[in-house]
Symmetry: C2
Subunit: 339 residues, 2 copies
């Protein structure tokens, strides 16, 4: 199993990527192709004392900066690390691509180089969220805004396969993010999506509200990418605010200062878990291959976790199972919806 890693696109340069790749090679029995400027990567490997033969370097002359518009990537950045790393998957040299770089650039590269899965109208980014009982998937969290009900139905099908893989469940519970549990609650798009999901073969448990997302009542939460992105960032904001307010309160007393490490650690853990990237990265579902998007600030550990997820998804052939499900759903007569 070979993983192509965009080793220069992240906020912290190549060091955490090389260290994460090294940990992955040792612990997960994978080979990692570090993609980026060869001179820079060779120097960094030497500086870090990295001589593991399971790591190799592939030169890429360009890099997509964080602030660059993804739209220009296909035109101007075909020699960038993310583009070349994705081409390694297309050409069969690697089985998955992992990138801590510009999220939009990863999407564009996967879209153009790997192509959309047959039948999929829009790809989706699927994040993992911590819940009281374990973990849930939410998708889409930012790949698409202005989704139709059919897009949401496809997200549910893709999330279902990812959920089966991640949770080892044959029928993950699929919920639709809305503003009330009743069928009648929601906006025009979610009300239409509700009907479609009810008529689908999925284990659809109905609408879930914002507060249910973290209680663990659904394994997979489906939403438009605008809503999902807002929900994710609101979550980060609440966690950050609680942490700061608590620490402010706590540092004001002797007992509090004693208890500080006790509270800071679990809060940091939780924050890290909400931050999907630290948590193994977020796959881009609906493309012909495995693409894992990590946070720009990914640590070595986050990179390793993303490589682990990439490996698991490539072994599980999740993208092929998604293609099968989408094709089946498209071959069902539309009359089924009213069944």
């Amino acid at each position: 199993m070979k993983i192509a890693l965009d080793a220069v696109g992240g906020d912290h340069g190549p060091a955490p990527c090389i260290e994460g790749a090294l940990q992955a090679a040792k612990e997960l029995d994978v080979e990692v192709i570090l993609v980026g400027d060869e001179t820079l990567l060779t120097q960094e490997c030497a500086r870090l004392g990295c001589r593991d033969p399971r790591l190799s370097i592939r030169h890429a002359a360009q890099v997509v900066e964080m602030h660059e518009s993804p739209a220009a990537v296909a035109r101007k950045k075909r020699d960038s690390s993310i583009w070349i790393a994705t081409e390694l998957v297309k050409g069969g040299e690697a089985q998955a691509v992992v990138s801590p770089g510009n999220t939009g650039a990863s999407m564009v590269a996967s879209f153009f180089v790997l192509g959309l899965t047959k039948g999929v109208e829009r790809p989706a980014i699927a994040t993992s969220l911590p819940t009281l009982t374990g973990e849930a998937i939410m998708l889409d969290v930012g790949a698409n805004v202005d989704c139709t009900a059919q897009h949401l139905e496809q997200f549910a099908l893709m999330g279902n396969e990812y959920g089966k893989h991640l949770f080892k469940k044959s029928h993950p519970r699929i919920g639709l993010l809305s503003i009330g549990e009743e069928d009648s609650k929601g906006n025009e798009v979610t009300k239409d999506a509700f009907k479609r999901l009810k008529a689908s073969p999925l284990n659809f448990i109905g609408n879930v509200e914002g507060r249910d997302v973290y209680s663990g009542s659904a394994d997979v939460v489906v939403c438009d990418g605008f809503i999902g992105n807002v929900a994710l960032k609101i979550s980060e904001g609440v966690a950050e605010t609680i942490k700061k307010l608590l620490l402010r309160e706590i540092s004001g007393s002797f007992l509090g200062r004693l208890a500080y490490p006790l509270i800071a650690a679990p809060l940091m853990n939780l924050k890290r878990r909400i931050d999907y990237a630290e948590f193994g990265g977020a796959p881009l579902l609906g493309v012909n291959g495995v693409t894992i998007i990590c946070h720009g600030r990914s640590s070595a550990k986050a990179i390793k976790n993303a490589i682990r997820r990439a490996k698991g998804m490539a072994e599980g052939r999740v993208h092929e199972l998604i293609q099968r499900d989408i094709e089946e759903s498209l071959s069902r007569p539309p009359g089924d919806m009213d069944a």
Copy 2:
């Protein structure tokens, strides 16, 4: 100043309403008309030893239950406590209505009895949120789904007047909830709303992301009611989950159990602040009068805080200022938008 209080619509019956009204009468120099079944309210007042002459009772034969569809209220529940309480405002007997009952029923009663403010297309519920630096307003949080850019612009105008009142600022900072700070980020509706707000006389600071809501970067955060409701409930979910996970960690050690009260209290405070109702209730903006919606589980203190807010808004004539602003905005030539 007289406030009409729907004293029987809440989850906990009339007791917290009577107690909250009593506290308000004593502390805020207001009279409160308790609206609901006269026999029940008389008995409860007697049981609670409440003989304050500033409290009076107005009979209402019906009550709208929490599970009832708001749509039926105007047809079948014109003798309900929320309807009659709202009529007291319309008739000039009271200057504001406060209800811990069915939110949809409050909206319907205000819509039919008080009427929409001239020029307002949709009313909006404006909640208060705790931030690192104080407090922010978010609207709409559930009155409307499927909003247009013009609706969002009107929410901004209404939130601006409410913000001036609440924060004593002449130019509250208005942010548009979106998925990136750049002008180009968002969905079709927010991108159009961005242009409108930029062309308006408001102190528009641009897009704000989910994580900025709690950092205090905007005084007023504008969004569609679907997004706002999801955001609010996601926030509750995160706060609840953090509380439970922290308490679980903490109760596992001796030092943790020592620190427990220290941490539990600030967490509960924060949760209560996020819960808009405890925080003084949420006004329904865009109707011809003052309507404050409280949580069904409101405590006596929450009812008192809502009465305080109602009094302040009635004294500040916020609904009249909103009407003036909306009329001015409608009289501006549309060409201004491209200025």
